[in-house]
Subunit: 222 residues, 2 copies
């Protein structure tokens, strides 16, 4: 019975996700859904990404949190348009929350919409939001066993950012093992080794992101 239920909830979600996707496509907005464990560095990455790309792209952000406006304030400081969703206990965003948020964003003025999901390596992967691409972060401090233990998010994602590589000298974590296991789950996963804090490796991530926006037809190739 729990399974039947889950299917109904997901079907209802998928229907709204399709509407979101159609709206975003009609406005030529590229949307990415950024997912990770709590504290893997999503907000820091998003703030850095906005600072580095805001000359090239108009970026808006939807911030998902169970409660608090802590992250939205950090993103607001970059000057980007931000909508905060407080899920009130729910452990992931759903398409309905995004649908409501889209009404508060001037989509005609946006090239790239970044959606920061609730920090959770499990549930967000099951809920389509109508995004173009799912992107996940994995901090090296979480350990190299994560693809084996939490495969679904790796499977659903188009890009994996292996974050906090500046801490590798102080911990036991094989980035090579993460790569190998992640590619077994998703052979065409784009993998970027980065430190959102120091900026290392972010240029490749920016190139990937700009390529996805160009593909969506909002930008000419420079």
């Amino acid at each position: 019975m729990k399974l039947i239920l889950a299917r109904d909830v997901l079907a209802a979600n998928d229907k709204i996700a399709e509407q979101n996707h159609a709206l975003l496509s009609s406005k030529a907005v590229t949307a990415i859904n950024v997912m990770s464990s709590p504290g893997a560095g999503k907000t820091t990455l998003i703030a850095e990404t906005i600072r580095s790309l805001k000359q090239d792209l108009n970026i808006a952000v939807i911030e998902g949190d169970i409660q608090s406006t802590y992250d939205a304030e950090q993103i607001s400081a970059t000057g980007a348009q931000v909508v905060q969703i407080n899920t009130g206990g729910a452990c992931h965003l759903d398409a309905g929350m995004i649908n409501e948020s889209l009404g508060h964003i001037d989509l005609d003025a946006v090239d790239l919409l970044i959606i920061e999901n609730v920090g959770n390596l499990v549930c967000p992967a099951g809920f389509n939001l109508g995004e173009g691409y799912k992107v996940m972060l994995l901090s090296v401090t979480e350990g190299d066993d994560k693809p084996v233990k939490y495969p679904m998010m790796f499977h659903e994602s188009s890009a994996l950012l292996i974050n906090k590589i500046d801490l590798l000298p102080y911990i036991e974590c094989s980035v090579e093992k993460i790569r190998t296991e992640a590619l077994k789950i998703k052979p065409d996963l784009g993998i970027f080794e980065v430190s959102a804090k120091t900026g290392k490796g972010l240029d490749d991530w920016y190139r990937w992101l700009k390529k996805m926006v160009r593909r969506n037809g909002t930008q000419d190739e420079n």
Copy 2:
């Protein structure tokens, strides 16, 4: 409608949790439910705890994972009785899973039952398992904003282990801020600053754990 549903699921869960609690009490088994984000160090902590306390206490472990037997193998290496639960996608353990697992453990021979929940800072906090105490780990690499952003697990827990303190020199994280914010949410929370890897701070945790077992009447005060 989603809310009504959630209430039904939780009510059904609580009923089984009460049965588990009654069974564990009748056998004088102290059970702790260990929760955290993915990669915060639960398995390392549990393995260290068993190695350090196995002369004093008979310890059994229930290992919860979405899939894989990776953690159960590490715990088995300590010589403790282990039951593995694979949740098959579910992002938290529930009381029914524990009920089934208890049938596979010789409870008469056990003083302390350690239940390792699925790595998730949100959902596990909502599901009672029939445990005596909920215990959470927070790795300092997750950042000092976690009590504000994920208050429920702090509120439900009897003890908080702030783990990976050996990494503090390399990151920005105020343990004092974690303490202050966590105690605002749960004024009687027991807080331990530890490194499960180096062993630092674990003696206080062991004292707390032995005290909880003694309270349950399975051990005389030494």
